[in-house]
Symmetry: C2
Subunit: 448 residues, 2 copies
């Protein structure tokens, strides 16, 4: 009897959880990810705002699976999946699978305007975070040299697009940087003059959280000095800043994007009908659903995390939020189903268990929605700290992050204030004499 | 009476030391550095080999001088220095100085072959370190996918050019990565099969250290599995690896450069005759020396650190080694002379005080030359640890680095095993529609 081959695409929360849960199973596991590290995305905004350094929140996938003899890690981008023939084709070869777990995550999405990305980077990868860090810290350096007060104002204006958790957390961190971290570090201007504008198209912040927490977040951000602009839809983002529908312009040298993601482009290669967010619709077993274009049900395929538009049946008719606990649950579920099927046991539908939602707003403040409990302020923040430390992938990271946070708490400083260069020599060494130019501001490519 | 203006170019050991030492002086200090951080260069190889993360060994210059009211930090590259008119011209303006401290350091040097750089990156900046890290870790990932044993051998060969401290430390760290860090992390090959070749043009390692320590380093590296090739001069570096004079070729996918640096190109703008290493010859007061092209002695200019070819008179007729203690001493000296002159006190010539030299060779081993004492092994390594912790610029860094080292010691792991992308979106947002390609593999530009 040959050992069944489980292929997992993506080393995020769902993929890693699934792979680890298969440790004792009689399967061969192959995990693909074009990046070599698992990323703890909920804390990525802290790398972008220089509160943490990258290795604090990233762990080599190979390390996470080092003690697992049945797992192979391939650091390769998957090109496409051939569902009918059960093949995964990647840059450099192809593999056959018996069971497939699709967990390639999501990428930034600019609603048909990929040209905005150059002006307003999103926050999905460590490189994104470094780019944001470079721009934010660079703006303050620029201001020290700008003699014209009008231009300095523009240089010191930061526009954050999107009032979800990412936007709220970025705006809060920017406010803290301006009022605290940078205090007394410049001779020619007061960093507190920095203007932070949070732009949201809808009528409230933190959509998906209870109404009252959206209000609490708005109040807290306003207190921190952030200008919150609701019902403000973006017309265009360019050199000048963010142009809003209706004609007004937020003149800002630095714009950040937290307004949208779309599922990994890998979904497009499956030949199934995707939803508006580019996600693969699934049944209550996380299998891709049969439709006109895909009459077959692929019961050997599980779609997890941000790539999946999970059947509302799995959450009492409601959509499942894009939070880490949901991804982890799906990864566990897929692993358990794979094991059950190997043992000939009956499979069970997936049920989402709501562990609640948390978001921080600057120092010592957060909002929390845990089932019926809704609260905000200092206690919510403590809860946020505890939860994030517990979820961090390895013991080491927990200790380091705790240390960094404790240090930052008492010193008000941010250790990661290092501006990297603009990747002058980053293009790979193709041919030294004719090294190709780096692809400039192209939309994010397929991940993993 | 106007307050004298001291301009310092460069935020390395010499520049930062000088600026800090002028804290209580009745001067205005302006420090230029195109990078926003001071870098603890002696530990940079640990970032390159994933043992430390970048913020552990870098501190924002602005932070280091935050409490110093008389200092302004400008994050700008200096274009040129106009000695006769006492002006510093930078990207965005110019300033007049009363006293100038030139401490812009050095850049990688390829002996007239800048095209080698694309194949063999050097190690002077954090971006250099990230690039080396990407290539080294990437090679192991590549090997996991390479089916052809001959090609895999090539992929797993690492050539380090230069048998000085940088080359020895890199080679030792690579050996540790292959035999320890990567152990049991791959399914298709044994990381211990990696071949590490250290190439040195001279007849010994660690030139500048006593002979016996060069021998000890060679013995230790050989024991770690490193192939040490002495008397091997480089003819060419290209896609295939390192071609040696005489015709032999070290077939290696990854080459690293530790064989040469040259003083900052800023020296060329001074209009004085430079030495072979691009350095500014100085008298025993660190002033640029008068020669045929510069009949004037510029007694208001101090040249420090790697930019200076200091008069041998300052070290009993011997040249001064390019080590951090020398840079720090010169920075202090310049500050003290500036203060003395303000007070109308007589100035004194600079005297180099030899604090010795240290280099590590993999885990728990180092060589040390402290005046008459020469020793190697575990005790030298402990000394190395203590000295480097003490010298780290801020208390925070000391604690973190100690922690990281202690952790690595017991776990044999390397926390920084994060491969960054190739800077797809790094070019600055010029115009989104026509974003320029990143400059590909151009030689390092003038720093700061």
């Amino acid at each position: 009897m040959t050992i069944p081959h489980v292929v997992i695409i993506g080393g995020g929360f769902a993929g890693i959880t699934c792979a680890r849960r298969l440790k004792a199973a009689k399967v061969r596991v192959t995990l693909f990810d074009s990046r070599n590290h698992h990323l703890f995305q909920p804390l990525l905004y802290q790398v972008a705002t220089a509160a943490l350094s990258a290795p604090d929140i990233a762990a080599p996938i190979r390390n996470l699976l080092a003690k697992q003899k049945n797992a192979t890690v391939l650091a390769r981008a998957v090109d496409h999946v051939d569902l009918p023939n059960k093949r995964v084709v990647f840059d450099g070869g192809e593999v056959h699978y018996d069971q497939l777990v699709l967990a390639a995550g999501a990428v930034n999405f600019y609603y048909g305007h990929p040209e905005w990305e150059a002006w307003a980077p999103g926050l999905k990868t460590i490189d994104d975070a470094f780019e944001i860090r470079r721009r934010v810290l660079g703006a303050f350096e620029e201001a020290e040299l700008e003699a014209d007060p009008e231009l300095r104002k523009e240089v010191l204006t930061f526009a954050v697009v999107g009032g979800g958790a990412t936007g709220v957390e970025l705006a809060g961190a920017l406010a803290e940087i301006a009022t605290r971290t940078m205090r007394k570090q410049f001779q020619h201007f007061d960093p507190e003059d920095a203007r932070i504008v949070l732009i949201e198209g809808g009528s409230r912040l933190l959509n998906g959280f209870p109404d009252e927490l959206g209000l609490a977040a708005k109040a807290r951000l306003t207190k921190l000095g952030v200008e919150v602009r609701l019902d403000s839809r973006v017309e265009k983002i360019d050199r000048d800043g963010v142009h809003l529908v209706g004609g007004s312009l937020v003149l800002a040298r630095t714009c950040l994007w937290g307004a949208g993601i779309t599922a990994s482009p890998l979904g497009k290669t499956l030949g199934v009908t995707l939803d508006r967010g580019g996600r693969v619709p699934t049944d209550d077993h996380l299998h891709p659903v049969a439709d006109a274009t895909t009459p077959t049900t692929y019961s050997d395929v599980f779609v997890c995390g941000d790539m999946a538009a999970v059947s509302p049946k799995c959450n009492d008719g409601k959509p499942i939020p894009g939070v880490a606990p949901a991804d982890i649950q799906m990864g566990k579920y897929a692993a358990d189903q794979i094991v059950a099927r190997l043992k000939g046991k009956p499979t069970e539908p997936y049920r989402y268990f709501d562990k609640g939602q948390l978001a921080t707003i600057g120092r010592a403040s957060a909002v929390a929605a845990l089932g019926k409990w809704k609260f905000h302020g200092r206690f919510a923040w403590l809860l946020w700290v505890v939860v994030h430390i517990l979820y961090l992938a390895s013991f080491r990271n927990r200790v380091v992050v705790l240390f960094e946070w404790a240090w930052a708490w008492f010193s008000w400083s941010r250790p990661g204030r290092i501006i990297l260069e603009r990747g002058k020599r980053w293009p790979p060494p193709a041919d030294a004499a004719t090294a190709p130019p780096a692809e400039a501001s192209e939309p994010p490519t397929a991940t993993p």
